[in-house]
Symmetry: C2
Subunit: 113 residues, 2 copies
């Protein structure tokens, strides 16, 4: 999960992913579309590939890159665990925090003695 975030935390890689959402593309197309030099495109694709976000398929000298579904599904699953954060209210949890703070004070008092 972390590795995926690292991969996506870069302008051009993010743009590449967005671009590939429309379907697989060869390297030169990506470079042309995003106005990037070929070496940088290859490098970014390398990172994306290492993160498992894309797959390559050789077509003669061309290398066609496409998005892989698995990691995206994984991210979706990961995100689902947070669903309650935006579905429910956390008001009751705030109460709980007040408790924590009180306990904190209790600890401090105990330490003194």
């Amino acid at each position: 999960m972390l590795e995926m975030f690292v991969a996506l935390a870069e302008q051009n890689r993010y743009r590449i992913v967005e671009l590939l959402r429309g379907g697989p593309l060869p390297v030169n197309r990506i470079g042309a579309q995003l106005r990037l030099n070929q070496p940088q495109v290859s490098k970014h694709l390398r990172v994306l590939k290492d993160a498992g976000l894309v797959d390559v398929e050789p077509h003669a000298q061309h290398r066609v890159y496409e998005l892989r579904g698995e990691p995206l599904r994984d991210m979706h699953t990961w995100l689902e665990r947070y669903r309650r954060v935006w579905d429910q209210r956390f008001d009751q949890l705030n109460e709980l925090v007040v408790e924590l703070v009180k306990k904190e004070k209790a600890d401090a008092r105990r330490k003194k003695k």
Copy 2:
């Protein structure tokens, strides 16, 4: 979206977010739980806050941080746009790529003349 990825693309910030999934926590709790020095925790929380991922609420000298739902919902929405990547097959699109490559060659040939 990018800013959120940048924020999450760091070990400790990622861990903080995961920790806060369980509910709001004051800074010292976070530091203790993740074995981080207080200044680093504050700095990471700053980044998370700037990215809109967390919110602060002062309780006396304590600052209680909690996850915000909005950006998570945004990520969910963003991810939904990729749903077809893992839902459907892309086989037919691969055909399209073969077309692209052919067109490429045609272009090259045209350039020569």
